[in-house]
Amino acid sequence: MTAGEGELSESPSPLVTLPPIGTTDLPEFVNRPDRFGALGWRAFVEAFAELLRGREILWRLIKRDIAGRYRQSLLGLGWALLTPLALVLVFLYLRRARLIDPGNELVVPHALFLYAGFLPWQLFQACLSRTCQSLVASANLVNRVRFPREILVLAAVGGALFDFAVGLVLLLGFFAWFGFMPVWTALLLPLLVLVQVAFSLAIGLVISIVNGALRDLGSIVQLLGLLWMLLTPVVYVAPTEGPGAWLLWLNPMAPIITAYRDLLFAGTISHPAPLALATGLSLVLLPLAWRFFHVALPRVAETI
């Protein structure tokens, strides 16, 4: 009768390097009535840091929107091109039928001229209509999940940018078709897109909130979009002199759309002062709109 040996001694196992561990304490979340009461630099820095942490969400949502839009449609990506192409064709017909006259002498083929205007305008219009619906369309998310919800607005803009990028490829096709070379300044286009996106985003952040509360805004945006396009030199060359010409340049989109053509065809900015004004305006409006979004969303979320 001997006592059994139940113990087991293990030799040290080989050295293993474990995945790196950082000290990331989760921040404390405080919810109170004046949660976004603090005005100032800090609030923006915090909001921006939160946005940075949510970049993975942004990427996923953009992909989701694009895939969701094109996966169950026949034309797929073609839709991104159809609208500007159709508009170009209509205007070419109108000119051929001598119903309209572009007036000034164009240095580029008329179709190219029209397309270079419609493409950025389409970006702007898509930004407006999509951001307007962004919160309402994801009411479940807005209402139930805590994440930086401006990402929904950003994702709407991202989807519009994707269409724009597809349209740019076609623009290159147009250039090739007409045997025309863009000027080197075309490389500066991204800067211009940035200004335009900042401007659209500022409007989008506000209207997405307002549309959450008042659904009339969807129709209003449609109507205003049309009027705005007519007041913007999209299908015509902006007049430089005339009784009300200066008024046209107060519209921030006018210098931006004109600048697209300038960068593509001319190589010089024909109206630098209004463009600088539009840029400044966008940069001032964007943080203000962002802050409005933050402050108003907890109030409006319950009515979405």
């Binding site: 009768m1 001997t2 006592a3 059994g4 139940g6 113990e7 087991l8 293990e10 030799s11 040290p12 196992s13 080989p14 293993v16 390097t17 474990l18 995945p19 790196p20 561990i21 950082g22 000290t23 990331t24 304490d25 989760l26 404390e28 979340f29 405080v30 919810n31 109170r32 009535p33 004046d34 949660r35 976004f36 009461g37 993975e56 996923r60 949502l61 992909k63 989701r64 895939a67 969701g68 996966r71 994801s138 479940n140 998310l141 807005v142 209402n143 139930r144 999940v145 805590r146 994440f147 909130i209 509360a213 409005f292 402050v295 108003a296 907890p298 109030r299 409006v300 979320a301 319950e302």
Partner: protein, 888 residues
């Protein structure tokens, strides 16, 4: 012991108010208006009701610590979801404050963020990123999630073809594998099928056990009872009751159960209710618009009368923690709609201490009168208070009001934490007088820290080894919780623990007796109320154990064990007799304790006094000798030894069968080598013998308690695990009986040679050596160790690391110990951490935690110098938040 983090709570709500508007158009305009107003820097709008608005949530407070769960109860529209939405941060309260610490995951609408055209897999990635998971984390967890959701075959199907149940499965799996530290669930379990719901409940319980705080809204009482610790019952946004789930749920069910009386019927006149509502320190109470309130409120003077009965003019005497039964007479003059009596106890500053809302029925005629009995309990500091009674009509109209001054006596308890006060008194029942006075050692007088000694510290209890001692503990916990009285040695190891059972809420005196099988020396007494992770610990005075008492062991045995035997002639007689029982142990510790007696620790023979007690040490090898007297004519014999806990739970034992053919009265010696694998505590050792005669007649089994075993745990080994088995090398024919509720132990462990109970360990070198002893109580088929580093604020640093491929995962036999030495390299930045270790078992797809160390080793990682390659063994300065010290 003292380094419990100050911020133990994970969720805390203080006086939440939230209003909503009844009409849609006005609500949108108000919301926009508020938004613009706040944008202009005018601050949040005044918390008062405007036209068409009502309070959806009013004055709700609660708190929730890690590992706790709270259920929100109430009918539809009671404000439960509003609270969850405020918690998740999507809407802001109008008044009050909410704090959440830790990763919050809310699962409120199943499939929020799912896009119908995308496949299940794509949606998992979207939903996971919304919950804060990175792509890599989702990739890692995807197999687990899918295995849990059981929808592998449909993973690449667009989710528009999913059924609601499949949506729910997928959403629940993603959310619950997103490492939630605070998990909000709003009625999502209602969707799945029964089997999956059971799986979810089990998973949620596991999450809770891992330290996740749960907030549940469910209308299924069964799940609520199984998942929640606490309940908060809301009626029209107002808390009616808040407390342990069973109490609250019972009260709620009694009110809303269909088979009960119609809730709209008037209550019986002498109804008694005993729900206690801890009322928060109220925010400035939001008032209705003045004009409207004036219009609504009927004239106060003549409408009704309230009178507190059985109380004279003198201040009402209340004791903190005690239940006071009060009676109030209500007589109404006018007809009232849904009248209710709002009773609140407030202190001098106007802060609410306790309150009850007593509904009087749907409508009451004028001239009616009734007497209401109710119970009130408060937890507060001693001092004056005011009991206010308000009779309210529907629409908050105040009908009548009266107040009475009170005087609260008792002990201080905080509102949220079971802040503990205790008095411990030890009374030696036996043996005290014989002991010569022992001079108190110096250690008793001076505490090790510079903390001033309070009264309790000065008290010196002196007992002698082997004394039977009565311990009287006077505690005042805020709610009924299990309690323990413990003796700690100099290294804060628990050397003795006495279970006080479930200590009732309020002031309670608990008594218990134990025999002090302790080596001489000084011990610290502590009283622990509640369980991990948030026990309330009260450090009491010292207890000095002298070593002049009666030697332990060599005690006499009580009733003999005999077995009736019917002889062929019809005469009765003893067939088998237990003649003696001896236990020899190997434990040197216990040998010292016994005064150097190395011989038999327990000798028991028939016909003498009490049941002897034998001290045993956990893990000790000992030899038990039984001497039996046998009657001639027996063919076989069966001996069953059983260890039973004080609560009657069978912990384990041994069965031995023997063939024998004694021709005459003879004696049989049976020797059993066993290793003690019983959880520390008291056990009754019962012996049952039975046999068969040559003729095949059975000899009736006779069972008797032959000894009591007192199992001492080695320092550092927690005594709360319920485990028991004997690892036995028994005679041929023996059979091992394993207890059913067997668990396992994680033994003491060392980091870089530093014991877990001593600490802190300094992880100066890049590599760390971890030495763990694991003691399997039942067989563990696939053991696994998991460890994690935790910051002082209880945040997990990085993720928990499983050692499945490093810890030898061979089956661990019952009762066997395994020592495991692991070397690894934690990439930690400089700082102080808690090191948590858990023993798990992997079994058919799920992982069960068998044991974890709640008090873990503290380790300090030196701040790295400029050269990374050099091991900073010497001269590194460590910052230890508990005791700032410089390690050489």
């Amino acid at each position: 012991m003292d380094e419990t983090p100050s911020s133990a709570w994970y969720v805390r709500a203080d006086g939440l108010w939230k209003r909503y508007c009844r009409t849609l158009r006005r609500s949108t305009l108000l919301a926009l208006g508020d938004g613009v107003r706040q944008f202009c820097g005018l601050g949040p709008p005044r918390p008062s009701l405007r036209t068409d608005e009502f309070w959806s949530v009013r004055d709700v407070s609660f708190s929730l610590a890690a590992g706790q769960s709270l259920a929100l109860l109430g009918r539809n529209g009671a404000g439960k979801s509003t609270i969850l939405r405020m918690l998740s941060g999507v809407i802001a309260p109008d008044c009050g404050e909410l704090r959440v610490r830790g990763r919050l995951v809310s699962l409120m609408v199943v499939g929020a963020g799912f896009h119908p055209v995308l496949t299940g897999r794509e949606n998992v990635f979207i939903y996971g990123s919304l919950l804060g998971l990175s792509r890599r984390q989702i990739d890692e967890r995807l197999p687990e999630m899918l295995e849990f959701a059981e929808i592998e075959g449909f993973l690449d199907t667009p989710v528009k073809y999913y059924s609601t149940g499949m949506y729910m499965r997928l959403a629940f799996s993603v959310a619950s594998f997103a490492d939630p530290q605070v998990f909000l669930l709003d009625e999502v379990l209602a969707v799945g099928d029964q089997a999956f719901r059971e799986k979810c409940v089990a998973h949620l319980q596991q999450l809770k056990a891992d330290g996740c705080a749960l907030l549940i809204v469910s209308h299924s009482p069964g799940y609520v009872r199984r998942l929640a610790d606490f309940g908060l019952w809301l009626e029209r946004g107002q808390p009616v009751a808040y407390g342990p789930i069973d109490d609250v749920l019972d009260a709620y069910m009694a009110r809303h159960e269909p088979r009960g009386e119609d809730p709209d019927q008037p209550r019986p006149v002498s109804a008694t209710t005993s729900v206690t509502v801890p009322v928060s320190t109220p925010p400035p109470p939001p008032s209705d618009d003045d004009g409207q309130a004036a219009a609504d409120a009927p004239p106060v003077a003549e409408a009704a009368r309230l009178q507190l009965l059985d109380v004279g003019e003198a201040p009402l005497a209340l004791t903190s923690g005690a239940v006071a039964r009060l009676r109030v007479a209500v007589s109404l003059r006018n007809k009232l709609v849904e009248p209710r009596l709002d009773v609140s106890l407030r202190n001098e500053q106007g802060a609410g201490l306790a309150g009850v809302i007593l509904p009087l029925g749907s409508s009451t005629d004028g001239g009616a009168s009734c007497v209401l009995d109710f119970d009130l309990r408060c937890f507060t500091t001693a001092g004056p208070a005011v009991l206010r009674l308000q009779l309210l009509d529907r629409g908050e109209g105040l009908v009548a009001e009266t107040s009475h001054s009170c005087e609260v006596s008792g002990v201080a308890t905080s509102r949220w934490q079971a802040d503990l006060t205790a008095e411990v008194e030890l009374v030696a029942v036996t043996g005290d007088a014989a002991a010569p006075p022992t001079p108190a050692p110096a250690a008793v007088i001076s505490d090790d820290g510079d903390r001033p000694l309070d009264r309790a510290d000065r008290r010196l209890e002196r007992i002698e080894a082997g004394d039977e001692v009565e311990v009287a503990v006077d505690v005042c916990p805020i709610e009924a919780r299990p309690g323990r009285w413990q003796l700690l040695d100099a290294a804060d190891g628990v050397v003795y623990e006495h279970d006080l059972g479930l200590v009732p809420a309020g002031r309670a005196a608990v008594r218990g007796r134990f025999r002090a099988w302790l080596p001489g020396g000084s011990y610290r007494q502590i009283v622990v109320i509640g369980d991990a992770p948030e026990p309330s610990v009260w450090r009491g005075g010292w207890c000095h154990v002298g070593d002049h008492g009666e030697p332990i062991g060599h005690a006499a045995l009580a009733a003999g064990v005999s077995t009736a035997f019917v002889e062929p002639g019809g005469r009765h007689g003893d067939a088998i007799q237990l003649l003696s029982l001896t236990v020899d142990g190997e434990s040197e510790e216990l040998a010292t304790l016994l005064g150097g007696v190395a011989g038999p620790r327990l000798v028991a023979d028939l016909g003498r006094g009490d049941v002897p007690t034998v001290p045993l040490a956990l893990g000790e090898r000992c030899r038990m000798r039984l001497r039996l007297g046998l009657r001639p004519g027996l063919r076989s014999l069966e001996i069953v030894l059983g260890f039973t806990r004080a609560d009657g739970h069978r912990s384990g034992g041994l069965r031995i069968r023997r063939d024998c053919l004694p021709r005459r009265w003879s004696e049989l010696d049976a020797e059993i080598d066993l290793r003690v694998a019983l959880a520390p505590g008291e056990y009754a050792l019962a012996l049952a013998v039975s046999g068969l005669t040559r003729e095949g007649d059975s000899v009736h089994e006779h069972r008797a308690e032959v000894a009591r075993c007192h199992v001492l745990g080695p320092a550092g080994l927690e005594g709360d695990a319920a485990m028991a088995v004997l690892d036995v090398r028994e005679e041929p024919g023996g059979e091992l009986v394993v207890g059913t509720e067997a668990q396992s132990y994680l033994g003491a462990f060392r980091l870089n040679g530093v014991d877990a109970s001593v600490g802190p360990a300094v992880l100066a070198a890049p590599d760390v050596e971890l030495t763990v002893d694991v003691c399997g109580v039942r067989q563990i088929a696939k053991p696994e160790l998991k460890f994690s580093f935790v910051t002082p604020g209880l945040h997990l640093v990085g993720r928990a690391v499983r050692l499945s491929d490093r810890f030898p995962s061979a089956p661990l036999a019952a009762g066997a110990r395994r020592r495991c030495v692991l070397r690894f390299r934690p990439e930690l930045v400089g700082g102080a951490y808690l090191f948590q270790l858990a023993l798990q078992e992997v079994g058919n797809g799920s992982v069960h935690v068998l044991d974890r160390r709640p008090t873990a080793i503290r380790c300090v990682v030196p701040i790295r110098g400029a050269s990374r390659g050099r091991a900073l063994l010497e001269g590194s300065v460590c910052v230890d938040p508990w005791q700032a010290s410089t390690h050489p």
